[in-house]
Symmetry: C2
DNA sequence: TGCATTTAGATATAATATAACATACAATAG
DNA sequence: CTATTGTATGTTATATTATATCTAAATGCA
């Protein structure tokens, strides 16, 4: 099955097999980052024989294709929030994940200034940023 | 024992007990991020009865006091590279860790533009960045 | 059809991190 | 000094996160 998804980070087509689709639906509908083994529990309601590799393989695929993001400071996975209108000029931009240490909520954001400064820093260091994503932890508005 | 360490991120004094001191020395002398269980192996050469909690407790302390940083995208720990001259105006700055996915090397860096843009973004989102640290993964100069 | 490639199933285990409880040690107030 | 409190450590066990490996099925294509 091939499906088109509007997503700044994503390619235009995905091979969404049943287990990938199910994992994507689970994470997307959660609306917040989910842990791999919580995803597994949900997945087993639909695919009984699902095992850790089932989940991690699907997550690898979806993260590689930028449909999901890995939130490193939580060991969790979230749906990409950048479903965008104006995706044309944004292919080269850097996004940032603001991750709340208290409630786990993540806000994905981006802007041109951030992109510019990161590009400038990586350039002067000879560093190639392949992730186009940075992470920042803290405390969100609701938790303050 | 109380010791003074020159470090942008660090407080002026630390309670470096033997196990904390040993963990710090191990990570510092590695010159690159180390995994907790690799630290444990080294530590056991000095403190035979060291166990995982020995290492994790020391790491917690040293990370909390900004002598070490946790590199989330590697599950590793590195010595702070910002031992600074000009620490006066830099208390509020944001640092960034550029982490190479191939060799694991990390470059810690900071500048005022980055600090400004992160502060602006967090401010407009009502997000309180407590870490003053962001992470960016990619490929370093040597690995290209 | 035959062959290569990708995806998935299944079992086991590796790697990372913490819980819980007991003990020792250090600072200080009475 | 000694009781009390807070901090740090020892020890055992276990929780959490992630991958290796081998087999088999499904898919795409010559
Ligand atoms: Zn995204
Ligand atoms: Zn929050
Ligand atoms: Zn630092
Ligand atoms: Zn490298």
């Amino acid at each position: 099955m091939t499906v088109t998804v509007e997503n700044t980070h994503a390619p235009t087509s995905l091979n969404l097999t049943p287990s990938r689709r199910a994992v994507l639906d689970i994470v997307k509908s959660a609306g917040r980052p989910m842990k791999a083994y919580d995803i597994l529990s949900k997945l087993q309601e639909v695919i009984k024989h699902a095992k850790p590799p089932t989940v991690y393989r699907a997550l690898d695929y979806l993260v590689t294709n930028h449909v999901l993001h890995r939130v490193n400071n939580q060991n969790a996975f979230m749906h990409c929030q950048q479903h965008v209108e104006c995706s044309k000029q944004q292919e080269e931009r850097v996004s940032i994940l603001f991750s709340c240490q208290l409630c786990g909520a993540v806000i994905e954001n981006a802007n041109h200034s951030l992109t510019a400064i990161i590009k400038q820093m990586t350039g002067s260091l000879g560093f190639k940023s392949d992730a186009d994503m940075v992470e920042c932890s803290g405390v969100c508005q609701d938790c303050r």
